[in-house]
């Protein structure tokens, strides 16, 4: 005889969320989720953060998840609530961020009737999520919530949608406790010992090795980053990070070559091009990394560690595939390296480092800042000073970005020593990501310094979230590198389209100082280099949210750059360097 049901679906839902450890939900109410909001109102253990747009709710949950390693939780209504969330979901899918997004739905008997605020949410989000559910029976509700958290956080993390018809959350439902295992989804996390042995044999004999580590190391937890550092130190190998992997290895370490890829350093890209053994960990050989595929690191034997088997041999054929959690694989590599008595080719390694030092000597991130009074601020200099000042102040600092030139300059010039401090939209490249993401980070770390390095165009894509910052007194700092252009697009137009700046000038910009004021924040502005430090200090000292509008050189381009369709050894260096690199081919012009 079943026990009498006493709780509504909405209450069961919140109970399941609590059992999954949820403390914060980012959301926006609406008709289909009214019963859930009513249940939220009557409890105190889960905090709801009211955003101003559903896309921002997902980005905020991403910031929360990336800075804590926990699953981010989102609650939106049916129809437009769900469709607005889609950009955030795809962003989380591309960057492997664990999110559970609850969407309202019209009652089950109206599904398919084109009811008010009805959308086929599971249909729309199927390719936008790792997995999704439509709950059609009250008895499935609790189990589905538990499964969703398991799926979001196990294997390669990702977003999971649970579509909740209104009658399901109104009617009484039974509760089921979380179970440890999913009935079918059991991703492999332990590396194959024989593959680890092959990898170590290759690495021991390597003459020109490189470690190429990505966001998978960060997703594997801070222990994985510590193991990566140990492994690099024990081997003495050079190491480079992807955009997503920044912070998994301390940037100040002498073995660190900086970021690789389209806007990576000269030494990182040439070391990838010239290596004889490559150890890729939690990175997916994305087109922004490889450049022209048929010229990518042709002389190397490649080891690829990834928790997602479909990432292996997708773009680049590898010789030693290892499907495993990055942390577990690194642990096994460390043990096997220590146990192996095979000699390391020390003279060859020393030669390799001499070569890398020659490449380093190019100083590919070099720029020249005019330090005279009234000098125009170089965007790189603004980030360099932001880095130096925040580092000197020793406050725990988290950086988010929007998408574009400022993002790449931040990746190049802000140096991360620890994982989970850097939140950027890597795979999808979502303008408007940084502000809501910073909001989520600040909720998770109320006492930390959270800075959104932004461009003046990107920031306007989710500027409404200034209202959320005001409501919850979140002292997020928005640091705008304002060049009055959609800078990265302008740069491509300059390089590829004869400097025809089609629609990339940011006309009719708001007065960002007044805009901050209107949103109960503090606005400040730096027009020239002599004002920069004072503004950065004032921004950090300010107890409220800040928009710091930094007027930067409008003509500055982001270098180095591997033009689309070019190889790693065909990089364009900046105007500080002699002519370099290849021209852009017709095939390259077709690439993004």
């Amino acid at each position: 005889m079943a026990a009498e049901l006493t709780q509504t679906g909405a209450e069961i839902l919140l109970r399941a969320l609590r059992d999954q450890g949820v403390e914060v939900i980012f959301g926006y109410p609406g008709g289909a989720v009214l019963p859930i909001y009513d249940a939220l109102f009557q409890q105190n253990s889960i905090r709801h953060i009211l955003v101003r747009h559903e896309q921002a709710a997902v980005h905020a949950a991403e910031g929360y998840a990336r800075s804590t390693g926990r699953v981010g939780c989102v609650l939106v209504t049916s129809g437009p609530g769900a469709t607005n969330a889609v950009t955030g979901l795809v962003d989380a899918l591309m960057d492997s961020i664990p999110i559970v997004c609850l969407t309202g739905q019209v009652p089950t008997h109206l599904i398919g009737n084109d009811a008010f605020q009805e959308a086929d949410t599971t249909g729309i989000t199927r390719p936008a999520t790792k997995h999704n559910y439509l709950v059609k029976r009250p008895e499935d509700l609790a189990r589905v919530v538990h499964e969703a958290f398991y799926v979001a956080s196990h294997g390669r993390p990702g977003p999971v949608v649970i579509d909740l018809p209104k009658d399901i959350v109104i009617n009484k439902a039974p509760y089921t406790e979380p179970t440890v295992q999913h009935p079918s989804y059991r991703p492999r996390t332990e590396p194959d010992a024989s593959q680890i042995a092959k990898a170590i044999a290759l690495l021991k004999g390597a003459k020109r090795p490189i470690i190429y580590a990505g966001g998978g190391v960060i997703n594997a937890g801070p222990e994985a980053s510590a193991l990566l550092t140990q492994f690099a130190h024990i081997t003495g190998f050079p190491i480079t990070n992807t955009l997503m992997g920044l912070g998994s290895y301390p940037a100040s370490d002498p073995q660190f070559l900086g970021m690789l890829g389209m806007h990576g350093t000269y030494e990182a890209n040439l070391a990838m091009h010239g290596c004889d053994a490559m150890l890729a960990i939690g990175a997916r050989f994305d087109d922004r990394i490889t450049g022209r595929l048929d010229a990518f690191s042709q002389g190397s034997t490649k080891i690829h560690i990834d928790i997602d088997g479909s990432s292996i041999n997708k773009n680049v054929a590898v010789d030693i595939p290892i499907v495993a959690d990055a942390g577990k694989a690194l642990e096994a590599l460390l043990v096997a390296w220590k146990a192996s008595d095979a000699p390391v080719d020390k003279p060859a390694l020393a030669n390799w480092w001499r070569q890398i030092d020659v490449w380093r000597g190019k100083d590919s991130l070099k720029f020249t800042q005019d330090m005279k009074r009234g000098g125009i601020i170089k965007p790189q200099y603004a980030i360099q000073r932001l880095y130096e000042i925040t580092r000197a102040r020793k406050q725990e600092t988290f950086i988010t970005t929007e998408v574009g030139q400022h993002q790449m300059w931040a990746a190049q010039h802000y140096r991360f020593e620890q994982p989970n401090r850097w939140m950027t939209s890597g795979g999808l490249g979502t303008m408007g990501y940084g502000l809501p993401s910073a909001m989520g980070v600040q909720i998770a770390h109320p006492d930390a310094l959270v800075i959104d390095i932004a461009g003046e165009a990107s920031i306007l894509m989710n500027i409404q979230e200034m209202g959320t910052l005001a409501q919850y007194r979140l002292p997020v700092k928005v640091f705008i590198l304002n060049n009055q252009y959609m800078g990265m697009v302008r740069q491509w137009q300059e390089l590829l389209h004869g400097s025809r700046y089609s629609e990339t000038y940011s006309a009719a910009l708001p007065d960002f100082v007044k805009l901050a004021d209107a949103f109960h924040a503090t606005g400040m502005r730096a027009q020239s280099v002599d004002e920069l430090d004072d503004v950065i200090h004032a921004m950090i000292d300010c107890p409220t949210a800040v928009i710091a509008d930094i007027a930067v050189d409008q003509a500055e381009n982001c270098f180095p750059m591997i033009p689309s369709g070019a190889a790693h050894n065909e990089m364009l260096l900046g105007p500080e360097h002699e002519a370099s690199g290849a021209g852009i081919t017709d095939a390259g012009l077709a690439l993004v």
């Binding site: 997995h131 059609k136 390669r156 999913h182 079918s184 989804y185 997602d308 088997g309 479909s310 773009n315």
Partner: protein, 172 residues
């Protein structure tokens, strides 16, 4: 070893054991269309009432690297239990069923019936002016039958797509 430079196309018969839940077929088809893979044939039906499993059989084509990708992409879908590449894993049997409507009279009727006999097709419906043949077999056998019927009043074809199993004692 797969190589990105190997452009040789091969055909692959892939069987996928999935949870019999709403949307699972859309998930598999969406994977193929979203990533630009070919589907030459597709069948799906429940095969295990006890564990609520369905079996999807897909015939696809691509380079070895693409087919390895397809298998890996299928394998990471949450409701997917098993993925088997019947073409690579050893010998297998693949059969499909076709219903073929032929509209003809006189000499052509006799000819169509004789060819049907040769192919061991059964006549499952007949009128004075038409037949419906039922035919099972490998895809090329059915293709051959349909080709022959073209000159004998072929009017309509309905095919099931293939069902496939590994030969011997191997199971998915």
């Amino acid at each position: 070893m797969t190589s990105p430079t190997d452009t040789t196309q091969r055909s692959a018969t892939i069987s996928v054991l999935v949870d019999n839940e709403a949307g699972v077929l859309a998930r598999v088809i969406g994977l193929f269309s979203g990533r630009g893979y070919n589907i030459d044939s597709l069948t799906v039906a429940p095969v295990d009432e006890e564990h609520l499993r369905s079996r999807i059989n897909i015939v696809t084509s691509g380079t070895s690297m693409v087919i390895e990708q397809i298998k890996a992409q299928l394998d990471r879908l949450v409701p997917v239990h098993r993925v088997a590449d019947l073409t690579m894993d050893g010998p297998h049997v693949a059969r499909e069923l076709a219903l073929v409507k032929v509209i003809c009279t006189g000499e052509q009727r006799v000819e169509a019936l004789q060819i049907g006999d040769t192919f061991r097709a059964r006549v499952v419906d007949t009128t004075l002016g038409s037949f419906v043949f039922e035919l099972t077999g490998a895809t090329d056998k059915i293709d051959a039958f349909i080709d022959l019927m073209r000159n004998l009043g072929l009017a309509e074809v309905s095919r099931s797509g293939i069902a496939a199993l590994a030969r011997g004692s191997r199971v998915i």
